[in-house]
């Protein structure tokens, strides 16, 4: 029999690989699955996946209650996001620039099927760097306020980050992150936002906003997860996004994989793409063509093997009744990695010192 920690991981993976594997699952396993999906904020996504792929499957009533409740919350966040976008567009109506929706908002606007059960927390948009000041001004004139940051944080955001400090309308809850690039300026990779911006396309349904072309949409998600994120428990759902994006776009366009490969080459994003393809294939059984994984630009042996060991340990939820130290250590290592990738070492030290000084001043 599989031991419990292994079982919790496998249940969640099976559910997203092929929900039909859940047929006849004993009630106690459903319970474990819902707990794990909850830890990864994937309960609604799971419910939606089952409803779409196996409409006739017998699901215990209690489990359906959890799906319904989670979907209700997702619908609410989605409604608030759509409304916020509506208000943003009204506020910027006289500005003749392209506004590109990123991540969750883009998946909704593109009517991607998996967006239905996907939870989202804020809005990310991208505009050309030369327009960002004007956008910020127009929004602050119309009721949006910038998160209150201290001087150092504000300086840090504006000098080194790929976005300005988040803004929020004073009567509403949704935060708007306005980006001018897809990675921090200090980052070890620097894909040119102009190239991606100029290839952006109008979202479906006569929308006013643009979204990235399929390959860029995927690459943005890739970069976000494997270059910018800390790869902890909350990031598994981003891998699920990637799996869904890969599967959807490769079905829509049989040239998708080739296009993705050459775009990654062009933007020098092969390293994070390698990890995305590798983990999506190894964990979620995405049908990634084998030749993409033996690309000459894939990461070096040692970091690669280390990542292949650490990432599944870190991003998959543990059995909540059997939490271990090993997973905590893996998460810590990957946390340090993400900071290392985000900025040069000397700056990292200064930044961490500033942060810790601030922490001590508060005590």
């Amino acid at each position: 029999m599989m031991d419990r920690p292994e079982k919790s991981r496998q249940l969640l993976l099976d559910a997203f690989i092929n929900p039909n594997l859940l047929k006849g699952l004993p009630l106690e396993d459903w319970e474990l699955l819902i707990r794990c999906a909850g830890a990864s904020k994937l309960v609604a996504a799971l419910g939606d996946k089952i409803a779409v792929n196996c409409p006739t499957m017998l699901v215990p009533e209690k489990v359906l209650d959890h799906f319904q409740a989670a979907q209700q919350l997702v619908n609410y966040r989605k409604q608030m996001t759509t409304w916020e976008m509506h208000c943003l567009n009204r506020a910027l109506i006289n500005l003749d620039i392209d506004i590109v929706l990123l991540k969750g908002a883009a998946y909704i606007a593109s009517e991607l099927p998996f967006a239905n059960g996907r939870t989202l927390s804020d809005i990310d948009i991208l505009v050309a760097k030369e327009n960002i000041e004007e956008v910020e001004k127009l929004l602050s004139d119309q009721g949006w306020i910038t998160a209150s940051l201290d001087e150092y944080d504000d300086y840090y955001y504006r000098t080194w980050m790929h976005e300005i400090p988040p803004m929020r309308h004073r009567e509403r809850y949704i935060e708007v992150d306005i980006h001018h690039s897809i990675l921090p300026l200090t980052s070890r990779l620097s894909p040119d936002p102009k190239t991606m911006l100029s290839d952006a396309v109008l979202a479906k349904g006569g929308a006013r906003n643009k979204v990235f072309s399929p390959v860029d949409m995927v690459l943005h998600s890739v970069v976000h997860l494997f270059h910018d994120a800390e790869l902890n428990l909350t990031d598994f759902r981003d891998l699920v996004d990637l799996h869904e994006l890969f599967s959807y776009f490769s079905k829509q366009d049989d040239k998708f994989w080739e296009k993705l490969d050459s775009r990654a080459e062009e933007l020098s994003l092969y390293e994070p793409l390698y990890y995305a393809l590798y983990f999506s294939k190894s964990l979620l059984k995405t049908s990634v063509p084998a030749e993409l994984l033996i690309n000459k630009n894939r990461p070096n042996f040692l970091p690669r093997v280390l990542m292949e060991y650490l990432v599944p340990l870190s991003i998959l939820p543990e059995d909540p009744d059997f939490m271990g130290k090993k997973v905590a250590f893996a998460r810590w290592l990957l946390y340090v990695r993400s900071h290392y990738l985000r900025m040069p070492m000397l700056m990292l030290l200064q930044h961490l010192m500033k942060k810790s000084q601030k922490r001590f001043n508060h005590v």
Partner: protein, 308 residues
Amino acid sequence: MKIKDITFKQLVEHSSGSKGLCVSIGPFVVRIRTKEKSFLQTFSMLYQDFEVSEGEFVDFHIDMRRPTNVRRWVNAQIIFWVDGIAPFEPFPLDHAFPLFEWGLNWCIGRSAHQYLMLHSGVVEKYGKAIIFPALPGSGKSTLSSALGLRGWRFLSDEFGLIRANDGLLQPMPRPVPLKNTSIQVIQNFETSAVLGPVYPKTRKGTVSHLQSPTASVEQSNKLVKPAMVIFPRYQEGSETIFEELPAHYAFLKLSTNSFNYEVMGLKGFERVRDMIDSCTCLSLTYSNLDDVIDQLDKRLVNESSHDG
């Protein structure tokens, strides 16, 4: 099997084991794991009529544990854990029961969106339910408790659960946290009322929990249609005054009384609309519990004869 049907020794064994003690509380199954005997004593007394659940789907996995630092022993504290998360600061160990109740409210409030959740007391008689939506301090807990003590079915003192799909009321007759002067009011009102320990200096002042009527707990699975929505307000020395409320005003009051009206979107709107359409909506000012109960009874009898 009810909590009171197992010995305290068995209860301790269950709840300190890895499988924990599973209890049906309204529509939810809660797994409790703890080694704290004083907490279990209070719990087993106030939840004595609730069913021990076996082999059912557990909704909330709660651990009540002491911290691992010095506060384990010195001025001992207790922490509420749910699925490996501790959402609150530690409480003093002797306030473990109010912490559990508060924590369970938190679990339900943030996740049970298969219900429109009202901040309301709910009672039932003659198959007709009355919802008492009100802010804390309006006396709705006292009023619902008093009705429960006079043989009405008690469904909840502050969690009116309206099932999103069909608008039926789901009972959750948990112990009622009586606050400050209400403790004495209920003790004077009914000398046989069973109350738990008195907890001074909680966030809400002094609190003591009232055991729910056995028959009400036994009917936890019996859902009922709402018949009246009454907004109560206790006012010292006042006569019992009922006033009819305009529908749109009742709508506004009822929707803002809900914890999750906005989350429920169109479903929330439809459930509130249906209640306004099908229920008698009144405001109530009162001071004398016996008199209110008498008049509510008459009104329900009248309602029934209208349906006749």
